[in-house]
Amino acid sequence: MPKVEVENVYKIFGPSPKQIIPLLEQGEDKTKILKKYKHTVGVNRTSFTVEEGEVFVIMGLSGSGKSTLIRCINRLIEPTSGRILIDGQDITALSSAQLREIRRKKIAMVFQNFALLPHKTVLDNVAFGLEIQRTNIEERRRKAKEMLEIVGLNGYDAAKPSELSGGMQQRVGLARALATEADILLMDEAFSALDPLIRKDMQNELLSLQQKMHKTIIFITHDLDEALKLGDRIAIMKDGNIVQIGIAEEILQNPADDYVREFTQDVNRARIITASAIMRDAESIVLEKSGVLIAARKMKELGISSLFVTKKSGELLGIVTIENVSSMIRQRKEDLETIIDKNIETVGLDASIDEIIPLFLNTKYPVAVLDEDNKLKGIIFKSTILAGIAGEGGNNDATHC
């Protein structure tokens, strides 16, 4: 059973929203309904499901209805029509007391501007969800302390939120959401107010928390990088509709329409990401120390069909292929140097993906990444590039993305 099911949800703002639904069903669009009927379409017949443990990202331009949609899930905004099932239970049918119970136990929310309580200490902010549940004070403070530790803020118990930096405040926001042990987290642009480095940190933090906690997360963002990094699946919204849902790969490769395409191009990671960010560790052999047998053995071990050869100093000489190596072995020759192919493509550490991609047209080998002294630093495979664009990064992404 899916954790969250959203079925045909509409949200229309205005004096008589229900009457607008038939018009939408007939295919009237948002602009016309605003002009002619003076109603704003927030969410227009939207359905999707989120599985337990999944990170579901919603993207879309400003005003496309993301915030409205996510607020329908805990009914901070009442949907005009449609059903929302949490663990199979239709929450649109609940009384306000039952709804409060769901909000207390099952769904927690993290806000773009943190929405901390300025009059309470950090500890009491984190404990706030439990305070609402009337948990006794020792218990909730104990729990809150635990959560502060998890988000790396121990020692700040007595501080007021205003004394913390933005990143720290959002950690408090996150800890507050985690403290109730709700298994669904709604995050509306939770990291958008943070500066890029802190933001990156928080994304990593969320991912590592997620590995331990397996929450079901619905995450809104404007940022494709963030979406690709965090999302198991991504939904793209436009004018209240979800125009495409899929895993990152599908969305990048088969954008449903121009709107989505624009979204995915908009980012242009290719221009931002450098070789050093996406390269893999350089597997190579040193000429002075190796012959064909070593080369063959290493290729077999790594499951690759070619191998870079360097001098002892690390300076790149060229590449040998499995075919050449095995023919040498058959001929019982040992000298590696004769089969080194010097016709390889190399790039500097800070070459961008845009510069690297064309190189693959000229070569069947991976591209070598060299430093100023022509020493081999890493290798880029064709597949690495894709992963790089998709935001995975190589072995040392943290310093470069």
């Binding site: 409060r100 309580l117 007595a158």
Partner: protein, 297 residues
């Protein structure tokens, strides 16, 4: 050209007021007695405090909320009042102000909260407040006399009406000013409406509410003085008698006492909002933090 018939609004009001005085006499008498008692009891309580102790308490309070200057001012000012033999009248005025303010609070806070929760209530109450505030203060005195006779109680009633709007308005404003996302966050954790109100909205509105309280107190004081015209006792009476007797000196002394009381009330209540921040508990906490920081270094 035929002049348009004049709407006899004044006559209607008079008829209405007469009807009420005739039919609701018991009700008004009850209120009258109640107010008289309340003012009396408060006055007696304040009288119980010996003058020097009173001055020390006010000075200490001033020191705590504001600082040395206000404390010195309060000692000199209150001593001057005592010296001019206006202490009794001042205490009376204070007890009227306190009574009126308390009642204004008891009625005004819930009204303000109601306005903040319901746009309909806001729409209904707002014009009433405008009316209460902009109607010239003296006008209240006439019906007050009709209903409550001459003396202190009608003065208190007129004062309550005149002084209540700020506390209502600013309670409403303070609650509405609480950031929307904080309210959302509170709701998202499953808070009941009363948890939202008492744990979040009112605490965050306190500075604004305190500003309203300050205004209410100041308006009370001014109206209590004016209501000497309908026989209310206190400093106003001193001033009013001064005017009646063409006694400039007496009038000035009374007026000076009013000014001193006004300044003290204003400064002290204005600072109370700010004081929350440096309240004892937080102060100690800060010391402790500093201490532990030093240790960890």
């Amino acid at each position: 050209m035929q002049p348009i018939a004049r709407l006899p609004l004044g006559e209607y009001i008079e008829i209405g007021v007469k009807w009420m005085t005739n039919n609701l006499a018991g009700f008004f008498t009850g209120i009258r007695e109640g107010l008289a008692n309340l003012v009396g009891i408060l006055g007696d309580l304040l009288y119980l405090i010996p003058v020097p102790l009173f001055i020390i308490i006010v000075a200490a309070l001033s020191w705590w909320v504001s600082g040395k200057n206000l404390a010195i001012f309060s000692v000199i000012g209150l001593y001057l009042i005592y010296n001019l033999q206006l202490w009794d009248k001042t205490v009376l005025t204070l007890s009227m102000v306190t009574t009126a303010t308390l009642i204004a609070l008891v009625v005004g806070l819930p009204s303000g909260i109601l306005m903040s929760k319901s746009n309909t209530a806001d729409k209904i109450i707002r014009p009433i407040l405008d009316f209460m505030q902009t109607m010239p203060a003296f006008v209240y005195l006439i019906p007050a006399v009709y209903f409550f006779d001459l003396g202190t109680p009608p003065g208190v009633v007129a004062t309550i009406i005149f002084a209540m709007p700020p506390i209502v308005r600013l309670t409403n404003l303070g609650i509405r000013q609480v950031p929307e996302d904080v309210v959302e966050a509170t709701k998202s954790f499953g808070a009941t409406p009363s948890q939202l109100l008492f744990k979040v909205q009112i605490p965050l509105a306190i500075p604004t509410i305190m500003a309203g309280l300050n205004q209410t107190i100041m308006l009370s004081l001014s109206m209590v003085v004016i209501s000497a015209m309908i026989g209310a006792d206190g400093l106003g009476k001193v001033v009013y008698e001064g005017i009646g007797q063409m006694n400039v000196g007496k009038g000035f002394e009374g007026g000076l006492a009013v000014v001193i009381v006004a300044m003290l009330l204003d400064r002290i209540t204005q600072c109370i909002g700010a004081v929350q921040k440096k309240s004892g508990k937080v102060f100690i906490q800060q010391l402790r933090d500093k201490h532990s920081q030093n240790k960890s270094i």
